[in-house]
Amino acid sequence: MKPAAFEYSRPADIEEACALLAADDGARLIAGGQTLVPLMAMRLARPSRLIDIARIPGLAYIRDGGDAISIGATTKQCAVENDPLIRAKLPLLAAAIPHVGHTPTRARGTIGGSLANADPAAEILLVAATLGATLTWREGAETAEAGIAEFVIGPMVTTLPQAACLTEARFPVWPDKRIGIGFHEVNARASDFAFVSAAAQLALDGEGRVTRIALSLGAATPFPIKLDVDALIGTRCEEPKVRDAVAAALEGIEAMEDLHASAAYRKRAARTLATRAIMDAYKDAHARRT
């Protein structure tokens, strides 16, 4: 388990990082390395050059933009885990982060790294899909952005150009007064990759009826997908209705299969976890009643 040889560069700023990337097709960015280095150890990745952006100033931050929270690409997962702003404004991300790897990987792993690697089971990606995050990158002197749905197109495949460096992820903050969140995943052990994960966020009106709902499924499909459960708008999330809405939303979706979990199992677990996530979100919104 030794990586193949590579060159190592530590650019001073993002312009230099982009120039290094553009000069070498085999080059890859590294920040925390918690996804990339295992791939290199197994020689599934053999970059010719690693461009280390972990210490580039101004790429690690958590900023309140009012209707969204912006997180710099090299912000460590452990920083997000312990941030009061995230807890207050992005409770779904706060709930999912403790499930991302484990304490040692979160001490090095970054938000941008997780999103750019786009593992189907990545919890940060799931939250980004649920909330409809926007990703920003630099390519040379150009800045571009894309919604998460246009960004991730396959398992560990994104539309990020080869010479681009992800700079920021912007997570929308719902303005609704009463929101609730639910997150569930099933895996072989607490810190391992999920077989299936589900994230839900909803908003209630003063009467306790759903006004807005977002649900996503992770790990079961090549990349996290949003499920349409708008049928629950106007309801009080009575369990049979939630079950029906989830079942209808899952129809026609093909689950992945591997040694650890069959497609049938993943589909069954998806139904259960999505239902639980919504029920939890509803209870959570009630508990947050002001």
Partner: protein
């Protein structure tokens, strides 16, 4: 490439290939063999070291990335040669090990926990070592060792009665 590493409060200048992991550098260049090579792809936790006090996989970090951080290995925990830290002592006392392969990493993970939480619950202890695999003990005596050390370390800071 030349890199300067701060390991156990001592500066070391080493010449490494970029692909040399921090783990291999510690073991082969600095002869600090307490960090163990297990899976070498981030799953088993045997290679855990502390980077600025936080447990980190030294197999998932290249030595060339590690300059400027305070790196602590198991060799840096004992207060003096021939002595043991309270955690090391507790692991001996409760026999929180069998083959010993996971032990340095378990102790470092526990050390990081107790540095920020002097009175952890059982759940917090279990969570703190959940990134580390032990194939011998069944974990019970490891958890017992950490709880014992925590209790003793709290006692050290308590004013003596009478």
């Amino acid at each position: 490439m030349r890199v300067e590493l701060d390991v156990n409060k001592q500066m070391h200048a080493v010449e490494v290939e970029p692909r040399t992991t921090l783990l291999d550098c510690l073991r082969e260049k600095l002869l600090l063999n307490g960090a163990h090579a297990g899976c070498e792809h981030g799953v088993c936790g045997a290679c855990t070291v502390l980077i600025d006090g936080a447990p980190v996989r030294s197999c998932l970090m290249f030595a060339v990335q590690a300059d400027g951080y305070a790196i602590t290995t198991i060799e840096g925990l004992a207060p003096a040669p021939g002595e043991l830290s309270p955690l090391q002592d507790a692991f001996c006392e409760t026999h929180g090990m069998q083959c010993g392969y996971c032990t340095p990493a378990m102790i470092l993970a526990a050390h990081a926990l107790l540095a920020k939480n002097a009175a952890p619950t059982r759940e917090e202890i279990v969570d703190a070592i959940s990134a580390n695999i032990c194939r011998c003990t069944g974990y019970a005596q490891i958890v017992e060792a950490i709880a014992l050390a925590a209790e003793r370390m709290r006692g050290l800071n308590r004013p003596q009665e009478g």
